[in-house]
């Protein structure tokens, strides 16, 4: 997340001119002074850039990271202004499972080195931003990542070339006028341009990026804060105790992250002002569209809020401008403010990208994010990927893709995609016999951090082999790209597939929702589909859905309508290993999708089936018949007999001897619901 100042525009005009005026020159392959070539260029050595560098390094790829600042993570040297990160640094979970623990570690990047976990860098639950800077520096250094510091890329353009992987190269020009030619461009520059709303008087407004953080400067003042995000509340929190009052103004209602389940919304740690507002301690929240407002300065240097159209009436002198209270004497913002502070978030810096890249912003999120596909590839140019915070348009206000604990996984997904696209390395997967299916899913839903953090965005995919005797397990695939799974992963999905996603209840999250309502938790397996809290959901498709189906899926469905769906009932401890509550219904679901029997059996049962049936259940086929039957112990066997699932044939024998011919029903013995053996006799 290189933070490049908005004001700084393109590089030396001379060089730019060369490229613009002589595009033919660039097309010639044998250029006299060919710029240094890279397969992968990463813009920005913030968390996302470093994360991508790590994966490229591990895969032995030709790459370089370009960073404007002398050290990684320069964004965090200034932001957040009040230095407290709101990403949690949970150092204890009571569990040893490193993958599980990442579910509650929102700051670490992914690596093979357990020393590079953030918990070794701070003991604070909400750590100091300085620790993040230190951590990112260590991450880059200790892993020997190839970062070019003090290199400001001032301009990026496209150079068509048939030889190139994507039909074009990306030409990056740095502040020294050097050009770098890249086959793939990975933009991880974060959001660096403060969002400004243009209204009359906006020049009087101080920005979050430069406002004083010393509470003394606010002593006894009336403060108006524009914005309703975490930066606004963080600013308010800092000065809450010294101001006369703080008013907070924004277009939409406050969104509390514990109600929306979106970490980017207002976090409880920052919400002190809500308390004082609701307890009528002078502070307050207001809703209004900023673009309709105007701020006027009076003679004493105080600020008044008025409406834009009053200004348009022609009076320019501050004292004569109509104020809303002139008409409506109980207007809420009729007091004069000492300060107006703007905390309206950030936008992506589009300025360095040449138009030829067609890196445009999406309509809905206007200037904030560049438009990308669900694969994080720019819609405008192939081979340009947006990583990290800037890639949040994919799951804005839904999941965690804009934050370290989310994009560290999406970066990995992009890397896997690239490995297949350019190096023929198929998406990593493990293959198992079908008897392992339930276990494989249970394992992942209980420990996978990528699924947990990037719920609704990354999903595990189980690809079934022919006749459903075996399956491949793919982790953390961008689920909106499901239709393109085969081309992205290089794996075949011809025989049906399962998609394992994590979801909150459909109607549970929202800024206006009561998330504490009385009956919010579901405990019964048959009501699992009504689970509200994050829980695993498994989709079964007989065929890979098409692009159309994915795009035109029903509203508020994460994926197109599946052939069958299973919800594992939400769990208070997020521990989905209960034999009857979680695993059994899951097995029944899988069995019914695959139309087979996925129970496990002891060797003795398999022996019986082998000699009394022509076909065997998968567990016996894939275990017992391969000399890997489960023998069991005396005490387990006794439990089996007690439960009625196993039979004591020794007793049967004894009884038979005693009674001659006992009433021997085989109904108790486990087996498929088949007609009795002798029914076939009629065939004679």
């Amino acid at each position: 997340m290189g933070f490049s100042a908005a004001a700084r525009l393109w590089g030396p005009p001379g060089l730019l001119l060369t490229f613009v005026l002589h595009p033919a020159l660039c097309l010639r392959p044998a250029q006299t002074s060919a710029p240094p070539r890279r397969d992968y260029c990463v813009l920005g050595a913030g968390p996302a850039g470093l994360q991508m560098a790590y994966f490229l390094q591990r895969a032995g790829r030709d790459y370089a990271v370009f960073e404007r600042a002398p050290r990684p993570g320069s964004f965090f040297t200034r932001y957040p202004r009040h230095r407290k990160l709101i990403s949690i640094n949970k150092r204890h979970t009571g569990k040893a499972n490193a993958e599980f623990n990442l579910r509650h570690d929102w700051n670490s990047l992914l690596s093979h080195d357990p020393r590079l976990l953030f918990r070794h860098y701070s003991r604070a639950y909400f750590p100091d931003a300085g620790d993040m800077v230190r951590y990112l520096g260590d991450f880059a250094d200790q892993l020997g990542l190839h970062v070019l510091y003090n290199t400001t890329i001032t301009h990026v353009t496209l150079n068509k070339d048939r030889q190139a992987w994507n039909g074009h190269y990306f030409i990056l020009t740095d502040g020294m006028g050097h050009a770098h030619r890249c086959s793939v461009l990975l933009v991880a520059t974060g959001l660096s341009v403060p969002n400004q709303v243009d209204f009359p008087g906006s020049e009087y407004v101080e920005g979050y990026e430069s406002v004083s953080v010393d509470p003394k400067d606010f002593e006894g003042q009336n403060v108006l804060i524009l914005g309703r995000g975490n930066s606004a509340f963080e600013t308010a929190e800092n000065i809450l105790g010294v101001t006369n009052f703080i008013h907070m103004l924004s277009r939409s209602r406050v969104r509390l992250s514990w109600a929306t389940h979106y970490v980017g919304d207002l976090r409880a740690i920052n919400n002190g002002l809500l308390d004082t507002y609701q307890l009528k301690s002078l502070d307050g929240l207001l809703e209004s569209d900023l673009t309709d407002l105007a701020v006027v300065k009076d003679r004493e240097g105080k600020f008044h809020v008025t409406l834009k159209f009053f200004l348009e009436e022609g009076n320019q002198s501050a004292d004569t401008i109509t104020l809303p209270q002139d008409d409506s004497d109980n207007f809420a913002m009729r007091v004069a403010y000492d300060r107006v502070i703007r905390c309206l978030g950030w936008n992506f810096d589009f300025s360095i990208f040449n138009k030829s890249l067609r890196l445009s912003s999406g309509g809905e999120f206007s200037k904030k994010y560049p438009l990308v596909r669900a694969s994080y590839e720019s819609k405008g140019s192939r081979g340009l990927f947006v990583l990290g915070t800037a890639s949040h348009s994919v799951d804005y206000r839904k999941s965690a893709g804009g934050f370290i604990h989310g994009f560290r996984y999406t970066v990995r997904a992009v890397h896997r995609l690239l490995e297949h696209r350019h190096h023929g390395v198929a998406w990593p997967s493990t293959q198992h016999p079908i008897s392992q299916l339930t276990s494989s899913i249970v394992r992942r839903v209980n420990e996978a951090s990528g699924l947990y953090q990037m719920f609704g965005v990354l999903a595990d995919v189980v690809l079934l082999k022919e006749n459903a005797t075996a399956f491949e397990y793919l982790e953390e695939f961008p689920m909106q790209m499901l239709a393109q799974l085969e081309t992205i992963t290089g794996r075949k999905a011809r025989h049906g597939l399962f998609v394992i996603n994590m979801e909150y209840g459909r109607n549970f999250s929202g800024p206006d929702k009561d998330v504490f309502f009385y009956d919010r938790s579901v405990g019964h397996t048959e009501d699992a589909w009504q689970s509200n809290f994050l829980h695993p959901v498994i989709y079964y498709y007989r065929h890979l859905p098409t692009e159309q189906e994915v795009r035109f899926r029903p509203a508020d469905w994460a994926l197109p309508r599946p052939t069958a769906i299973h919800h594992i009932v939400e769990d208070f401890l997020t521990d989905w290993t209960a034999p009857v509550g979680h695993i059994l219904p899951l097995r029944r679901f899988l069995e019914n999708c695959l139309d087979t029997d996925l129970r496990s059996f002891y060797a003795e049962s398999c022996f019986l089936f082998t000699l009394t049936h022509q076909k065997l259940p998968p567990f016996c086929q894939q275990g017992y018949l391969r000399m890997q039957g489960l023998v069991g112990t005396e005490s387990l066997w006794r439990h089996g007999v007690e439960s009625g699932l196993l039979r004591d044939y020794a007793i049967v024998g004894r009884r038979r001897e005693d009674q001659g011919q006992g009433p021997l029903s085989s109904s108790q013995a486990p087996g498929p619901p088949v007609q009795p053996l002798d029914s076939n006799k009629e065939e004679l």
Partner: protein, 818 residues
Amino acid sequence: MMSSSFNIFRVGISFVMMCIFYKSAVDSLSELSPQKYFSTLQPGKASLAYFCQADSPRTSVFLEELNEAVKPLQDYGISVAKVNCVKEETSRYCGKEKDLVKAYLFRGNILLREFPTDTLFDVNAIVAHVLFALLFNEVKYITTLEDLQNIENALKGKANIAFSYVRAIGTPEHRAVMEAAFVYGTTYQFVLTTETALLESIGTEDIENAHLYFFHCKQVLDLTDQCRRTLMEPPLTTLNIHRFIKTMEAPLLTEVAEDPQQVSTVHLQLGLPLVFIVSQQATYEADRRTAEWVAWRLLGKAGVLLLLRDFLEVDIPRHANVVFRRAEEGVPVEFLVLHDVDLIISCVESNMHIEEIQEDEDDMESPDTDIQDDEVAETVYRDRKRRLPLELTVELTEETFNATVVASDSIVLFYAGWQAVSMAFLQSYIDLAIKLKGTSNMLLTRVNCADWSDLCTKQNVTEFPVVKMYKEGKSPASYPGMLGTEDLLKFIQLNRISCPVNITSVQEAEEYLSGELYKDLISYSSVSVLGLFSPNMTTAKEDFTEAGNYLKGCVITGIYSEDDVLILSNKYAATLPALLLARHKEGKIESIPLANSPAQDIVQIITDALLETFPEITVENLPIYLRLQKPLLILFSDGSINPQYKKAILTLVNEKHLDSLTPCWLNLKNTPVGRGVLQAYFDALPPLPLLVVVNLHSGGHVFAFPSDQAITEQNLLLWLKKLEAGLESHITILPAQEWKPPLPAYDFLSMMDAAASQHPTRKDPECTKETDAQENDKKHEDKSAFRKEPIETLRIKHWNRSNLFKGEKSFKHDNKEL
């Protein structure tokens, strides 16, 4: 009959059609002329006669109903007749005009009542009216509350009252009441009303339906007391009233001191459950009061008994205070712990409700998908509380793993704490540790992959359970065998020596072949393999070494390639390179030439050699023999095999008659599950031993050697010949069904669809019925729960849940009525 067809002939074709239609039904209705009819009337006997002008077509509809009433009325001793008024023989009952035909009820030849045919609109009305007329004294018809009170007062201390309300005379409910009155009319005073006001005045809101109350007046001694009332809840049918009155007659509360499963009362015969209130001597008085209270509440719904625990011979669970026995036969009694008397009531009522549902959709009966049907998962779950001596194995972590497996030769079990198969095998593993305690220098360790996920992934473990052996200087080897104590033990023991082991002298080789050298190991490997090579046969030696390595842990292999190898090759008549196979059990040594065989082939040669010609088949070794893909010839024997049979079969083997089969025998003492196999083959099990041929790989036909023949060479041979020629018929064919899902899964997709179509907002806090139930549940227990979680285990949840819901409903219901 004759006259009727004559008439029909006259009125025309259309009427013929109708009469033919009715003809079969009219059979039992006697048709008489008036004169004849009156001559049949007997004194004291009731008779219903319909006087009919045959040329009126309208009467036929009535006749159909009348005809249906013949049988039921005859049951009450009432005869029914159709009297044809023909012109020649008129009677005053025949009426003047066609429209004025009527039915008349006579007792003897006295007219009791005349009925216009429109009051007798159907069979129920006919029966009801007739009985009502006849039981004029037994069934009092009243219209006011005062009437009722008068009757009640008059009968206090004398008799009980059956008071019923029906919406109208002639309804099916009226008929049911009248039929009951016919039977019980002398025992109880029947009172009937059709006045809704009267019903309301005794406190019922539901005036839509018929009601029957039983007034317990007989036991009222003080005339100022009211008679206790019991409402009959099921719909008014003859059978239900009968059942209800029967239960009113049964003793309110019975004391028993016998096994609840054995007790029998009238309730069970009537299809009603029994509720036993468990009582102890110390609390007898209170228990009896409770039981009486319950008995009153459940009167007509269930039998209530007081079970005297102190005099009981059978054991019942210590905390159980209520025993519930369903009326269905063969259903085990349920022992319940209920702390609220209302719960007993709701428990019974909810069960009655379930019964009703089941009657409605008999074949829709859905098995409980919540019940574990995975034998491994269930047994591991049931064993969860047993503490295993886990300390006998070393638990490894991410930190200790590498250091440990480097420091000593180790076996590592990779398992997952939540996975049943893993946990079942962990028990065998611990048993192994107990066996090996202090005797092995192999360190037994384990890694719980639920905790150390990354470690397991790094060790390439992605399934559970996996056993790997880590030996110094060698890459880790996965254990390929059965997940059981014995097989793993064998693997560990045989891995104590290197494979192949280097033999250095002829003497040592002889000791090796005789089993002396590795005395303690030959119980694990019945065959010792020795490769003989000239010192210069490097490639052959390498191949053999590779094969030996591959078979490590499965068989002992040795290699001898000294200069004096010819001594051995001459002695055992082997051409170098060669294998010597020492079968220790049989004390035989055979040689197999190894001409340029690659390692793979050597492995194959050795594994083939490991197979016995006539093995005892066991759970463990069956898969090995199945690999031969031949039909099995199995001799089932109860205990050791008869040496003569063995000899006979071995002779056939040696004469190559059994080459197309895998001959083996099964000892039912060692492999009791063999009985299960036999049960599948034979309807009636002939005496053992039994010889069968099972064609598992094609067709699944099973053939049995005739049990009346002796198992001799000749007989067997003959039988096998016939078998081959297709002259024998199979005793059964093994089912070829695929293994389908044992039970259905929840169909969440349609539940979601249904919810979406019902209320688009989906789960509202107040809409689902579970909500009510749970709320009710939790309000009692824990109002302050931060987040409400189900406290009950899933196993009992279904029960509780349906109960509480029903319980609450019926409780309210009761309150209104009593």
